[in-house]
Symmetry: D2
Subunit: 284 residues, 4 copies
């Protein structure tokens, strides 16, 4: 490992940064960036650090042991990521092309640090636009009867490809609790409204009827409660009474696309820390 990203959560106390950075300094590890955050009401401390190990004077394992020692001393929770080891990402979608294409295009232009071994859809229409990127396309149509079977198929594909993160790019199906639990904090969905407004389906229709003057989109981690998971990113655009539902859907699609891609990027760069229903998004 020649670079490392640490995430630390622990009770707030004196000397947290000092102990970590001192350890790294002793062993000639260079801190490339360090960000911290305190939730004063809860007395919680959060930190993300990105370090360059290329001149390190001890083996990686030894460093990890020393880091874990501090973690224990601080009663904290430390996770370690290797930024040079891209995550494996699966995309689940239906017929909507825009979101999938944006992810694939940005992956190709190296904006997204990941491997995308497969795209799974319950429709077949996006096959050629996916396969042009030499990514496998699985068409798994879903109906009331085969739903359980197809979920097993999906789960099996995720396992086979060692998937680290699942992106629901306007995948209109609700994932079973089984998948959600197994990929907790690793399934990102795009909802086409400014949550918590307009949960569930048909948000643009509801927004039109309610006469809102802004529409938006929300990227969030999927939890078992529908559209209740931790919000990663949101964005909006103004609309007027002149917008039909169809025009709202078209304008919204662009917002959804950029919000989803941006949230996925933050996850892939290990810039997101979870804190209950809240996310901390560091710049990295």
């Amino acid at each position: 490992m020649s670079e490392m990203i640490f995430h630390l959560t622990c009770p707030d106390q004196r000397g947290i940064i000092a102990q970590f950075t001192q350890l790294l300094y002793q062993h000639k590890v260079n801190v490339l960036s360090l960000e911290q955050h305190v939730e004063p009401d809860e007395g919680l401390f959060f930190m993300r650090a990105h370090a360059d190990l290329s001149s390190m004077t001890i083996p990686s394992n030894a460093l990890i042991d020393l880091l874990n020692e501090i973690e224990g001393k601080l009663s904290g929770k430390l996770t370690i990521h290797d930024p040079l080891m891209p995550l494996n990402m699966a995309i689940l979608c239906t017929k909507e092309q825009a979101h999938v294409s944006d992810l694939l295009m940005k992956h190709q232009s190296k904006e997204l640090n990941c491997n995308i071994p497969l795209v799974i859809s319950n429709h077949d229409n996006l096959r050629s636009s996916v396969e042009q990127y030499r990514i496998e396309y699985y068409h798994l149509p879903v109906d009331a009867e085969n739903r359980e079977f197809q979920e097993k198929e999906i789960l099996s594909l995720l396992k086979t490809h060692n998937i680290d993160i699942v992106v629901l790019a306007r995948y209109m199906q609700i994932l079973s609790p089984k998948i959600v639990q197994q990929y907790k904090g690793r399934v990102i969905n795009i909802h086409h409204a400014i949550l918590p407004a307009f949960k569930g389906d048909m948000p643009y229709h509801k927004a039109w009827v309610r006469g809102v003057k802004m529409i938006g989109a929300t990227a969030h981690y999927v939890t078992e409660a529908l559209d209740e998971g931790p919000i990663i990113e949101q964005d909006v655009e103004s609309v007027t009474h002149q917008y039909s539902v169809k025009e709202m859907i078209q304008a919204g699609r662009d917002i959804e696309r950029r919000v989803l891609t941006s949230a996925v990027k933050a996850h892939l760069q290990h810039r997101i820390l979870l804190h209950g229903q809240r996310t901390l998004i560091f710049h990295g």
Copy 2:
């Protein structure tokens, strides 16, 4: 009357604009601006026109009769406003200064076409900042026992001053149905969230807990259902996990202020048409 603004709502049909503009043209009335909107699903037509009567060849009353004739023929609903006759506006507030001051400052600099004979508050702290503009300040403290009495006082003050529009500039009390009914479509409230999210009180606290990435404000007409009235204007700003509730409240106050003033301005310029729970905001 030397200028006129008409609002028309009627079933969509051929020749609506032609009949109106032809009538005006015949009598040397100049159309300064004309905007229309169609709701195709409902077959409804909406129009706002602003006309200059200074060269008109018939008396105002005669013109109004002729306009009403067309209104009847089209099975429509026509309302006529005199843009040179400023509306009488009352402001209701509590302790928050920003919203009230913005309205008074913009009134003074002629951005708001209205008279503001009075400000009513259940606290006394804004007295001097209101009275410097030579506007009467009524301090009507409210508690559980005198609520009904004070509402009567408010209603009486509104009547005495011939109030056309009531602005709730962070007035934290809920108006009784009686006032709401008497001033239907004429009471504007600012809610400190992007409705329909976070209705009711403490929206910033709720937003913080929910971990939203955008906060906002909504100006709307008050109806008997809390925070359910037609939305006039909304705006938002991005927030991060670094914002405390207090910082959200501070950032939100600026959004509320500009959204409220802008909505009030639209009302005073007769640019808002109501269509059920939706508003049509014309540019004018």
Copy 3:
């Protein structure tokens, strides 16, 4: 012709709307939408109307004659478009995929009312991503020596395909005055800055050095003066000191893409009127 869009520019005077709508009404033409704008300092009137001719009681040619009669009487300039006759659009690009793909994807999903017979690039890398939409891809590499020859090629291709509108989707070459003159008001470029700031090349580098806190993009009609043509649309995003030039370029690409597509859409829907260096963008 079963629908018509008129653009009218004329000296402001009484009865313009009346005369047009009266004529349409007489012949059972239904006005679907009508928007007007006055520039008071110049005494100029602008109008866009969209009409449904399906119940019209005279031939199209007769209607056009009558419209031209009013045009003459008003000393105006009237242009007539057929919204059901899609324009022919050519896209010129280099290696950047995002902008081209967005146009093609939205064309495919019927958001853009046009035919796209060809894409021309001085590089070959976008061939497959264009040809998947069954659109011809012309690779015309440009160097100092063949520039003039290639321009002739381009012009010839535009003629052969009866091109109505040319979109420069990050086409990094400057078009010769010859093409610009022949396609005046019909070449749309995307500039990667908030014009008039940072004209010319390398705008993100210049913006980084200047330490701006917002980056943006501008879609404009191309004129002979570089980056000086009438602005159609602009949008921005906030940046911080943490953004490298590369991150600005990535964030900017998304802004450019949505601004360009939106400007092209407005042009294709005949919603843009030109007024010197200014554009009037009607909603339609």
Copy 4:
């Protein structure tokens, strides 16, 4: 001193954070927040730390000596601020009320951590709206003949009141190089355009003529080159062809006000580091 904010700029090297935080930890100083930034092309490291000294085991002076020792070792530049010692701020203005009132109102509601001993204007119209806050108002009318004399007066007032920061709240005069040099990095101006576009006077008029679709404002430190100083904050709003210059000015005033107040707030909280013509704005 019971709290401290440090700003550090130094060549990027291993162990910077470690050395500082280790020193603080040894003497029981608690780091409340720490932010850093690296400019890789220049090999420069920037840091802002906010520390709580209330349990410190050595005197403040001793700590400062030890910090300066590290500063020297790192070949850096360290500045120390006391966040509990509010800066003294002077406001210079002309006739525009909105910007001044917003600063005074937010000062009163404790949003701005500063003392405001005086407001200086070349007009007298804002006297009562300033004096209601019990702040001294100096009316120093300027003409071609007395300009030099009045500048001396201003400078003398700034000295007398120990002014730390000067805010030009739409002060339409250009300050002499003398004042600018003496208050380098401590004079904040609001320019009513998205710099570097539309430098100098009448930016809204220029923007209207150019037909821009966005207007905005820029808060920046004043340097001797007009409107060329380091940008602190920018914001924009969309405009349409329907906006007159007057409406642009009105909409722009709201943008200017919020951008100026926000920039001033960042300065007062010692959140701004200067890096040549760029600013680094930390969250604090």
